[in-house]
Protein backbone atom coordinates (compact mmCIF):
# COMPACT_ATOMS: atom_id res chain seq x y z
CA UNK A 1 0.00 0.00 0.00
CA UNK A 2 3.03 2.17 -0.16
CA UNK A 3 1.97 5.16 -2.15
CA UNK A 4 5.32 6.70 -2.69
CA UNK A 5 5.08 10.30 -3.71
CA UNK A 6 3.50 9.79 -7.00
CA UNK A 7 2.16 11.62 -9.90
CA UNK A 8 -1.03 13.28 -8.98
CA UNK A 9 -2.12 12.78 -12.53
CA UNK A 10 -4.66 10.29 -11.28
CA UNK A 11 -8.04 10.50 -12.78
CA UNK A 12 -9.84 13.11 -10.77
CA UNK A 13 -12.42 11.49 -8.54
CA UNK A 14 -15.22 12.96 -10.59
CA UNK A 15 -14.13 11.05 -13.67
CA UNK A 16 -14.79 7.76 -11.96
CA UNK A 17 -18.37 8.81 -11.41
CA UNK A 18 -19.39 7.94 -14.89
CA UNK A 19 -22.81 6.40 -15.05
CA UNK A 20 -21.22 2.97 -15.25
CA UNK A 21 -18.96 3.61 -12.31
CA UNK A 22 -21.75 4.76 -10.07
CA UNK A 23 -23.72 1.61 -10.61
CA UNK A 24 -20.81 -0.68 -10.02
CA UNK A 25 -19.85 1.22 -6.94
CA UNK A 26 -23.31 1.05 -5.43
CA UNK A 27 -23.50 -2.64 -6.07
CA UNK A 28 -20.29 -3.44 -4.25
CA UNK A 29 -21.19 -1.37 -1.18
CA UNK A 30 -24.62 -2.93 -0.94
CA UNK A 31 -23.10 -6.39 -1.30
CA UNK A 32 -20.43 -5.73 1.33
CA UNK A 33 -22.87 -4.28 3.83
CA UNK A 34 -25.43 -6.98 3.12
CA UNK A 35 -22.87 -9.73 3.69
CA UNK A 36 -21.77 -8.10 6.93
CA UNK A 37 -25.42 -8.01 7.97
CA UNK A 38 -25.84 -11.70 7.21
CA UNK A 39 -22.73 -12.43 9.27
CA UNK A 40 -24.01 -10.38 12.17
CA UNK A 41 -27.35 -12.17 12.02
CA UNK A 42 -25.59 -15.54 11.96
CA UNK A 43 -23.81 -14.66 15.20
CA UNK A 44 -27.22 -14.23 16.82
CA UNK A 45 -27.90 -17.95 16.43
CA UNK A 46 -25.37 -19.15 19.04
CA UNK A 47 -25.93 -16.03 21.15
CA UNK A 48 -29.65 -16.77 21.42
CA UNK A 49 -29.66 -20.55 21.49
CA UNK A 50 -27.16 -20.67 24.34
CA UNK A 51 -30.02 -19.57 26.58
CA UNK A 52 -32.21 -22.51 25.54
CA UNK A 53 -32.07 -25.60 27.80
CA UNK A 54 -28.67 -27.19 27.70
CA UNK A 55 -28.08 -30.82 26.82
CA UNK A 56 -28.02 -32.04 30.41
CA UNK A 57 -31.31 -30.31 31.14
CA UNK A 58 -32.96 -31.82 28.08
CA UNK A 59 -31.64 -35.23 29.04
CA UNK A 60 -33.37 -35.11 32.44
CA UNK A 61 -36.61 -35.73 30.67
CA UNK A 62 -37.88 -38.95 32.22
CA UNK A 63 -38.81 -39.86 35.77
CA UNK A 64 -39.71 -43.31 37.08
CA UNK A 65 -42.34 -43.46 39.82
CA UNK A 66 -43.32 -46.52 41.82
CA UNK A 67 -47.12 -46.35 42.16
CA UNK A 68 -47.60 -49.79 43.71
CA UNK A 69 -47.45 -48.61 47.29
CA UNK A 70 -50.01 -45.85 46.97
CA UNK A 71 -53.21 -46.69 48.85
CA UNK A 72 -56.62 -45.63 47.49
CA UNK A 73 -57.24 -42.03 48.44
CA UNK A 74 -53.52 -41.34 48.87
CA UNK A 75 -51.31 -39.13 46.72
CA UNK A 76 -47.56 -38.87 46.38
CA UNK A 77 -45.48 -36.01 45.10
CA UNK A 78 -42.60 -36.72 42.72
CA UNK A 79 -40.38 -34.43 40.68
CA UNK A 80 -40.56 -34.29 36.92
CA UNK A 81 -38.36 -31.81 35.03
CA UNK A 82 -37.79 -29.90 38.26
CA UNK A 83 -41.53 -29.50 38.75
CA UNK A 84 -43.85 -31.26 41.17
CA UNK A 85 -45.75 -34.27 39.91
CA UNK A 86 -48.88 -35.58 41.68
CA UNK A 87 -49.71 -39.26 41.50
CA UNK A 88 -53.00 -40.12 43.14
CA UNK A 89 -54.86 -43.39 43.51
CA UNK A 90 -58.57 -42.65 43.51
CA UNK A 91 -60.99 -44.46 45.74
CA UNK A 92 -63.88 -46.24 43.98
CA UNK A 93 -66.19 -43.47 45.25
CA UNK A 94 -63.96 -40.83 43.73
CA UNK A 95 -63.87 -42.70 40.43
CA UNK A 96 -67.63 -42.83 40.43
CA UNK A 97 -67.84 -39.13 41.31
CA UNK A 98 -65.41 -38.18 38.57
CA UNK A 99 -67.32 -40.24 36.02
CA UNK A 100 -70.59 -38.71 37.13
CA UNK A 101 -69.10 -35.27 36.53
CA UNK A 102 -67.82 -36.16 33.05
CA UNK A 103 -70.88 -34.55 31.51
CA UNK A 104 -70.92 -31.51 33.81
CA UNK A 105 -70.45 -28.02 32.48
CA UNK A 106 -66.67 -27.41 32.61
CA UNK A 107 -64.28 -24.81 31.32
CA UNK A 108 -62.00 -27.51 29.86
CA UNK A 109 -64.22 -30.55 29.32
CA UNK A 110 -62.42 -33.87 29.64
CA UNK A 111 -63.59 -37.27 30.82
CA UNK A 112 -61.81 -39.27 33.48
CA UNK A 113 -60.97 -41.89 30.85
CA UNK A 114 -59.17 -39.24 28.80
CA UNK A 115 -57.08 -38.27 31.81
CA UNK A 116 -56.01 -41.71 32.94
CA UNK A 117 -54.54 -44.65 31.13
CA UNK A 118 -56.65 -47.60 30.07
CA UNK A 119 -57.11 -50.24 32.74
CA UNK A 120 -55.71 -47.97 35.43
CA UNK A 121 -58.37 -45.34 35.67
CA UNK A 122 -57.86 -45.09 39.40
CA UNK A 123 -54.28 -43.78 38.88
CA UNK A 124 -54.32 -40.04 38.21
CA UNK A 125 -50.98 -38.56 37.17
CA UNK A 126 -50.90 -34.77 36.90
CA UNK A 127 -48.40 -31.99 37.09
CA UNK A 128 -48.59 -30.24 40.44
CA UNK A 129 -48.62 -26.88 38.71
CA UNK A 130 -51.68 -24.72 38.69
CA UNK A 131 -52.46 -23.76 35.11
CA UNK A 132 -53.25 -20.22 36.17
CA UNK A 133 -49.85 -18.84 37.22
CA UNK A 134 -47.82 -21.86 38.23
CA UNK A 135 -48.33 -22.23 42.01
CA UNK A 136 -48.41 -25.71 43.54
CA UNK A 137 -52.02 -26.60 44.40
CA UNK A 138 -52.92 -28.07 47.79
CA UNK A 139 -54.63 -31.40 48.22
CA UNK A 140 -51.91 -33.93 47.55
CA UNK A 141 -50.86 -34.27 51.16
CA UNK A 142 -52.90 -35.50 54.06
CA UNK A 143 -55.03 -32.83 55.67
CA UNK A 144 -54.60 -30.16 53.03
CA UNK A 145 -57.48 -28.14 51.70
CA UNK A 146 -58.88 -30.07 48.73
CA UNK A 147 -61.16 -27.29 47.58
CA UNK A 148 -64.90 -27.27 46.93
CA UNK A 149 -64.71 -30.23 44.55
CA UNK A 150 -62.62 -32.56 46.67
CA UNK A 151 -59.59 -32.60 44.42
CA UNK A 152 -56.96 -29.87 44.47
CA UNK A 153 -57.15 -26.26 45.54
CA UNK A 154 -54.69 -23.57 44.55
CA UNK A 155 -54.42 -21.02 47.37
CA UNK A 156 -52.70 -18.34 45.26
CA UNK A 157 -55.79 -17.23 43.37
CA UNK A 158 -58.43 -19.71 44.43
CA UNK A 159 -58.65 -22.28 41.67
CA UNK A 160 -60.66 -25.37 42.55
CA UNK A 161 -59.94 -28.68 40.79
CA UNK A 162 -62.11 -31.76 41.13
CA UNK A 163 -60.96 -35.30 41.98
CA UNK A 164 -59.79 -35.80 38.38
CA UNK A 165 -57.75 -32.56 38.45
CA UNK A 166 -60.21 -30.72 36.22
CA UNK A 167 -60.74 -26.99 36.74
CA UNK A 168 -64.18 -26.32 38.10
CA UNK A 169 -63.98 -22.90 39.73
CA UNK A 170 -61.52 -20.05 39.82
CA UNK A 171 -59.21 -18.33 37.34
CA UNK A 172 -57.17 -21.30 36.01
CA UNK A 173 -57.85 -21.68 32.28
CA UNK A 174 -57.26 -25.42 31.84
CA UNK A 175 -57.22 -28.68 33.77
CA UNK A 176 -54.06 -29.78 35.59
CA UNK A 177 -51.75 -31.06 32.88
CA UNK A 178 -51.45 -34.81 32.46
CA UNK A 179 -47.88 -35.46 31.27
CA UNK A 180 -47.07 -38.26 28.88
CA UNK A 181 -46.38 -41.44 30.74
CA UNK A 182 -46.59 -45.18 30.39
CA UNK A 183 -46.53 -48.22 32.64
CA UNK A 184 -43.16 -49.95 32.43
CA UNK A 185 -44.33 -52.66 34.82
CA UNK A 186 -47.42 -53.46 36.89
CA UNK A 187 -46.51 -50.88 39.47
CA UNK A 188 -44.06 -48.46 37.82
CA UNK A 189 -44.72 -45.57 35.51
CA UNK A 190 -42.18 -43.70 33.42
CA UNK A 191 -43.11 -40.06 32.94
CA UNK A 192 -41.78 -38.18 29.90
Amino acid sequence: MASTGASAGATPPEAADSEDGVRRRDWIHVAALGTAGVGGAAVLLPAISQMAPSKDVLAESTTDVDVGAIQPGQSIKAVFRKQPLFVKRLTPEEVAEAKADDAANMRDPQTLAERTSEGNEDILVTMGVCTHLGCVPLGAAEGENKGEFGGYFCPCHGSHYDVAGRIRKGPAPTNLEVPEYSFTSESTIRVG
Binding site: S3, T4, A6, G9, A32, T35, A59, E60
Partner: protein, 287 residues
Protein backbone atom coordinates in the same frame (compact mmCIF):
# COMPACT_ATOMS: atom_id res chain seq x y z
CA UNK B 1 14.10 19.16 31.35
CA UNK B 2 13.77 18.18 35.01
CA UNK B 3 11.76 15.14 34.07
CA UNK B 4 14.30 14.08 31.49
CA UNK B 5 17.16 14.53 33.91
CA UNK B 6 15.32 12.61 36.58
CA UNK B 7 14.47 9.95 34.02
CA UNK B 8 18.08 9.53 33.00
CA UNK B 9 19.18 9.27 36.64
CA UNK B 10 16.47 6.78 37.55
CA UNK B 11 17.15 4.77 34.40
CA UNK B 12 20.84 4.58 35.14
CA UNK B 13 20.09 3.75 38.76
CA UNK B 14 17.78 0.83 37.94
CA UNK B 15 20.29 -0.46 35.42
CA UNK B 16 23.12 -0.17 37.91
CA UNK B 17 21.24 -2.10 40.58
CA UNK B 18 20.29 -4.76 38.07
CA UNK B 19 23.71 -5.07 36.47
CA UNK B 20 25.93 -4.75 39.55
CA UNK B 21 23.96 -6.83 42.02
CA UNK B 22 22.10 -9.34 39.86
CA UNK B 23 23.61 -9.60 36.39
CA UNK B 24 27.32 -9.59 37.05
CA UNK B 25 27.27 -12.04 39.98
CA UNK B 26 24.84 -14.23 38.03
CA UNK B 27 26.96 -14.13 34.91
CA UNK B 28 30.08 -14.88 36.93
CA UNK B 29 28.37 -17.84 38.49
CA UNK B 30 27.13 -19.03 35.14
CA UNK B 31 30.58 -18.76 33.61
CA UNK B 32 32.77 -20.05 36.42
CA UNK B 33 30.45 -21.65 38.95
CA UNK B 34 29.41 -25.27 38.89
CA UNK B 35 27.18 -25.93 35.91
CA UNK B 36 23.52 -26.14 36.74
CA UNK B 37 22.46 -29.72 36.35
CA UNK B 38 19.27 -31.09 34.99
CA UNK B 39 17.71 -33.80 37.15
CA UNK B 40 19.17 -37.26 36.50
CA UNK B 41 16.04 -38.54 34.77
CA UNK B 42 16.29 -35.97 31.98
CA UNK B 43 18.36 -38.30 29.78
CA UNK B 44 15.41 -40.64 29.43
CA UNK B 45 12.68 -38.11 28.61
CA UNK B 46 10.88 -38.68 25.32
CA UNK B 47 8.50 -36.46 23.37
CA UNK B 48 5.06 -37.91 22.64
CA UNK B 49 4.87 -39.79 19.36
CA UNK B 50 1.85 -40.45 17.18
CA UNK B 51 0.79 -43.95 16.22
CA UNK B 52 1.52 -44.96 12.67
CA UNK B 53 -0.84 -43.09 10.38
CA UNK B 54 -1.93 -40.68 13.10
CA UNK B 55 -5.52 -40.25 14.25
CA UNK B 56 -8.62 -39.83 12.15
CA UNK B 57 -9.46 -36.56 13.90
CA UNK B 58 -6.07 -34.94 13.28
CA UNK B 59 -5.87 -31.89 11.07
CA UNK B 60 -8.48 -29.37 10.03
CA UNK B 61 -10.52 -31.98 8.14
CA UNK B 62 -10.40 -34.57 10.91
CA UNK B 63 -13.41 -36.74 11.70
CA UNK B 64 -14.16 -39.24 14.45
CA UNK B 65 -13.57 -42.90 13.69
CA UNK B 66 -16.61 -44.27 15.54
CA UNK B 67 -15.38 -47.87 15.44
CA UNK B 68 -12.16 -46.74 17.12
CA UNK B 69 -14.01 -44.67 19.72
CA UNK B 70 -16.19 -47.68 20.56
CA UNK B 71 -13.09 -49.85 20.90
CA UNK B 72 -11.55 -47.18 23.10
CA UNK B 73 -14.65 -47.18 25.27
CA UNK B 74 -14.29 -50.94 25.65
CA UNK B 75 -10.70 -50.46 26.83
CA UNK B 76 -11.80 -47.79 29.30
CA UNK B 77 -14.62 -49.92 30.66
CA UNK B 78 -12.64 -53.13 30.99
CA UNK B 79 -9.28 -51.73 32.04
CA UNK B 80 -9.03 -48.05 33.03
CA UNK B 81 -12.32 -47.72 34.89
CA UNK B 82 -11.06 -49.94 37.69
CA UNK B 83 -9.06 -46.97 38.99
CA UNK B 84 -9.87 -43.88 36.89
CA UNK B 85 -13.08 -41.86 36.85
CA UNK B 86 -14.64 -40.02 33.94
CA UNK B 87 -16.73 -37.56 35.87
CA UNK B 88 -17.58 -35.02 33.17
CA UNK B 89 -18.97 -37.66 30.80
CA UNK B 90 -22.53 -38.95 31.10
CA UNK B 91 -23.77 -42.25 29.72
CA UNK B 92 -26.11 -40.32 27.45
CA UNK B 93 -23.01 -38.89 25.74
CA UNK B 94 -22.22 -42.37 24.43
CA UNK B 95 -24.91 -41.83 21.81
CA UNK B 96 -22.36 -39.58 20.13
CA UNK B 97 -20.17 -42.66 19.57
CA UNK B 98 -22.82 -44.17 17.33
CA UNK B 99 -24.80 -46.18 19.87
CA UNK B 100 -28.59 -46.09 19.77
CA UNK B 101 -30.66 -44.76 22.64
CA UNK B 102 -31.67 -48.30 23.64
CA UNK B 103 -28.06 -49.48 23.57
CA UNK B 104 -27.03 -46.56 25.76
CA UNK B 105 -29.79 -47.31 28.26
CA UNK B 106 -28.68 -50.94 28.40
CA UNK B 107 -25.02 -49.96 28.64
CA UNK B 108 -25.71 -47.48 31.45
CA UNK B 109 -27.50 -50.19 33.41
CA UNK B 110 -24.31 -52.29 33.43
CA UNK B 111 -22.64 -49.65 35.61
CA UNK B 112 -23.33 -49.15 39.28
CA UNK B 113 -23.72 -45.55 40.31
CA UNK B 114 -24.18 -44.07 43.77
CA UNK B 115 -27.80 -43.87 44.79
CA UNK B 116 -30.09 -43.60 47.79
CA UNK B 117 -32.23 -46.38 49.11
CA UNK B 118 -35.76 -45.02 48.59
CA UNK B 119 -37.05 -46.56 51.81
CA UNK B 120 -34.25 -45.95 54.29
CA UNK B 121 -32.37 -43.08 52.67
CA UNK B 122 -29.08 -44.86 53.11
CA UNK B 123 -26.33 -44.49 50.54
CA UNK B 124 -26.30 -47.43 48.17
CA UNK B 125 -25.70 -48.14 44.51
CA UNK B 126 -28.16 -48.62 41.70
CA UNK B 127 -27.88 -49.39 37.98
CA UNK B 128 -26.94 -46.35 35.94
CA UNK B 129 -29.34 -44.39 33.77
CA UNK B 130 -28.43 -42.42 30.64
CA UNK B 131 -28.53 -39.16 32.59
CA UNK B 132 -25.98 -40.41 35.14
CA UNK B 133 -22.32 -39.57 34.90
CA UNK B 134 -19.59 -42.17 34.93
CA UNK B 135 -19.02 -43.15 38.56
CA UNK B 136 -15.73 -42.58 40.32
CA UNK B 137 -14.19 -45.91 41.34
CA UNK B 138 -13.28 -44.49 44.75
CA UNK B 139 -15.59 -42.71 47.18
CA UNK B 140 -12.99 -40.00 47.83
CA UNK B 141 -9.33 -39.06 47.35
CA UNK B 142 -8.23 -40.61 50.60
CA UNK B 143 -9.65 -43.97 49.58
CA UNK B 144 -8.06 -43.60 46.15
CA UNK B 145 -4.65 -42.85 47.63
CA UNK B 146 -4.94 -45.65 50.16
CA UNK B 147 -5.72 -48.20 47.48
CA UNK B 148 -2.94 -47.09 45.16
CA UNK B 149 0.23 -46.76 47.15
CA UNK B 150 -0.49 -43.06 47.86
CA UNK B 151 -0.86 -42.09 44.21
CA UNK B 152 -4.33 -40.83 43.34
CA UNK B 153 -5.39 -42.03 39.87
CA UNK B 154 -6.45 -38.84 38.08
CA UNK B 155 -9.85 -38.43 36.48
CA UNK B 156 -9.50 -39.07 32.75
CA UNK B 157 -12.26 -36.80 31.34
CA UNK B 158 -9.84 -34.07 30.34
CA UNK B 159 -6.57 -35.98 30.25
CA UNK B 160 -5.75 -35.34 26.59
CA UNK B 161 -6.23 -31.59 27.05
CA UNK B 162 -4.39 -31.50 30.37
CA UNK B 163 -1.12 -32.69 28.86
CA UNK B 164 0.99 -31.21 26.12
CA UNK B 165 0.22 -33.01 22.83
CA UNK B 166 -2.23 -34.99 24.97
CA UNK B 167 -3.59 -37.57 22.53
CA UNK B 168 -0.13 -38.68 21.50
CA UNK B 169 0.97 -38.48 25.13
CA UNK B 170 -1.67 -40.96 26.25
CA UNK B 171 -0.83 -43.26 23.36
CA UNK B 172 2.92 -43.05 23.97
CA UNK B 173 2.64 -43.50 27.71
CA UNK B 174 0.44 -46.59 27.61
CA UNK B 175 2.51 -48.06 24.82
CA UNK B 176 5.76 -46.94 26.45
CA UNK B 177 6.61 -49.25 29.33
CA UNK B 178 10.08 -50.19 28.14
CA UNK B 179 13.29 -51.14 29.88
CA UNK B 180 15.64 -48.18 30.26
CA UNK B 181 18.47 -47.91 27.77
CA UNK B 182 21.39 -49.58 29.64
CA UNK B 183 23.95 -46.92 28.68
CA UNK B 184 21.71 -44.08 29.77
CA UNK B 185 20.75 -45.97 32.90
CA UNK B 186 24.36 -46.43 33.94
CA UNK B 187 24.95 -42.71 33.46
CA UNK B 188 21.80 -41.69 35.26
CA UNK B 189 22.46 -44.02 38.17
CA UNK B 190 25.77 -42.27 38.72
CA UNK B 191 23.72 -39.13 39.29
CA UNK B 192 21.47 -40.84 41.77
CA UNK B 193 18.68 -42.00 39.51
CA UNK B 194 16.63 -45.00 40.54
CA UNK B 195 13.19 -46.40 40.01
CA UNK B 196 11.89 -46.92 43.54
CA UNK B 197 9.93 -50.08 44.32
CA UNK B 198 6.27 -49.63 43.52
CA UNK B 199 7.02 -47.27 40.62
CA UNK B 200 7.45 -48.21 36.98
CA UNK B 201 9.87 -46.82 34.44
CA UNK B 202 8.24 -44.98 31.57
CA UNK B 203 10.22 -42.39 29.56
CA UNK B 204 7.02 -40.53 28.61
CA UNK B 205 5.99 -39.75 32.17
CA UNK B 206 7.02 -36.35 33.55
CA UNK B 207 9.71 -37.75 35.85
CA UNK B 208 9.91 -41.18 34.15
CA UNK B 209 8.87 -43.05 37.32
CA UNK B 210 5.18 -43.72 37.15
CA UNK B 211 2.96 -45.13 39.89
CA UNK B 212 0.70 -46.90 37.41
CA UNK B 213 1.89 -50.39 36.49
CA UNK B 214 1.69 -51.43 32.85
CA UNK B 215 -1.98 -52.13 32.15
CA UNK B 216 -2.19 -53.36 28.61
CA UNK B 217 -1.15 -56.81 27.43
CA UNK B 218 -1.77 -58.41 24.05
CA UNK B 219 -5.28 -59.86 23.76
CA UNK B 220 -6.23 -58.45 27.15
CA UNK B 221 -9.68 -57.73 25.82
CA UNK B 222 -11.73 -59.02 22.91
CA UNK B 223 -12.95 -56.33 20.57
CA UNK B 224 -16.49 -56.70 19.28
CA UNK B 225 -15.39 -55.80 15.77
CA UNK B 226 -12.71 -58.46 15.64
CA UNK B 227 -9.76 -56.05 15.66
CA UNK B 228 -6.67 -57.68 17.08
CA UNK B 229 -6.06 -56.28 20.56
CA UNK B 230 -2.36 -55.51 20.39
CA UNK B 231 -0.89 -53.08 22.91
CA UNK B 232 -0.36 -50.28 20.35
CA UNK B 233 -3.89 -50.86 19.05
CA UNK B 234 -5.44 -50.58 22.50
CA UNK B 235 -3.24 -47.59 23.35
CA UNK B 236 -4.33 -45.76 20.22
CA UNK B 237 -7.99 -46.65 20.79
CA UNK B 238 -8.06 -45.39 24.37
CA UNK B 239 -6.16 -42.26 23.33
CA UNK B 240 -8.81 -41.60 20.68
CA UNK B 241 -11.62 -42.26 23.17
CA UNK B 242 -10.08 -39.91 25.74
CA UNK B 243 -9.70 -37.24 23.08
CA UNK B 244 -13.42 -37.49 22.55
CA UNK B 245 -14.16 -37.34 26.29
CA UNK B 246 -11.94 -34.28 26.63
CA UNK B 247 -13.59 -32.44 23.78
CA UNK B 248 -16.76 -33.98 22.37
CA UNK B 249 -17.27 -30.92 20.16
CA UNK B 250 -13.90 -31.28 18.39
CA UNK B 251 -15.19 -32.38 14.98
CA UNK B 252 -18.20 -30.08 15.07
CA UNK B 253 -15.81 -27.26 15.92
CA UNK B 254 -13.59 -27.86 12.92
CA UNK B 255 -16.51 -28.24 10.53
CA UNK B 256 -18.09 -25.02 11.80
CA UNK B 257 -14.70 -23.38 11.41
CA UNK B 258 -14.51 -24.12 7.70
CA UNK B 259 -17.91 -22.66 7.15
CA UNK B 260 -17.20 -19.54 9.18
CA UNK B 261 -13.83 -18.85 7.61
CA UNK B 262 -15.10 -19.39 4.06
CA UNK B 263 -17.84 -16.86 4.78
CA UNK B 264 -15.42 -14.39 6.31
CA UNK B 265 -13.03 -14.60 3.37
CA UNK B 266 -15.93 -13.86 1.03
CA UNK B 267 -17.13 -10.97 3.20
CA UNK B 268 -13.63 -9.56 3.59
CA UNK B 269 -13.11 -9.73 -0.17
CA UNK B 270 -16.24 -7.66 -0.67
CA UNK B 271 -15.12 -5.25 2.05
CA UNK B 272 -11.80 -4.85 0.27
CA UNK B 273 -13.47 -4.06 -3.06
CA UNK B 274 -15.78 -1.60 -1.34
CA UNK B 275 -12.81 0.04 0.39
CA UNK B 276 -10.90 0.30 -2.87
CA UNK B 277 -13.89 1.84 -4.63
CA UNK B 278 -14.32 4.46 -1.95
CA UNK B 279 -10.66 5.40 -1.96
CA UNK B 280 -10.30 5.42 -5.75
CA UNK B 281 -8.88 8.80 -6.65
CA UNK B 282 -7.99 9.74 -3.08
CA UNK B 283 -4.67 7.96 -3.18
CA UNK B 284 -1.77 8.80 -5.39
CA UNK B 285 -1.28 6.14 -8.00
CA UNK B 286 1.78 4.00 -7.74
CA UNK B 287 4.39 4.66 -10.32
Amino acid sequence: MTIRLAGILIGLGITAVLVLWSLIPGAYNYAFGPPAEKPAYYVFKEKPVAPEGGFSFDGPLGKWDYAQLQRGYAVYKQVCSACHGLKYVAFRNLEELGYTEAQVRAEAATWNVPGIDPNTGEATTRPGEPTDYFPNPYPNDVAAAAANNNAIPPDLSLMTKARKDGTNYVYSLLNGYVDPDPEKLAKAQENGFETPPGLYFNPWFSNVNLAMPPQLYPDLITYDDGTEATVPQMSADIAAFLTWTAEPSLVQRKQTGWFVIAFLIFATGLAFLSYKQIWAGKKAKKK
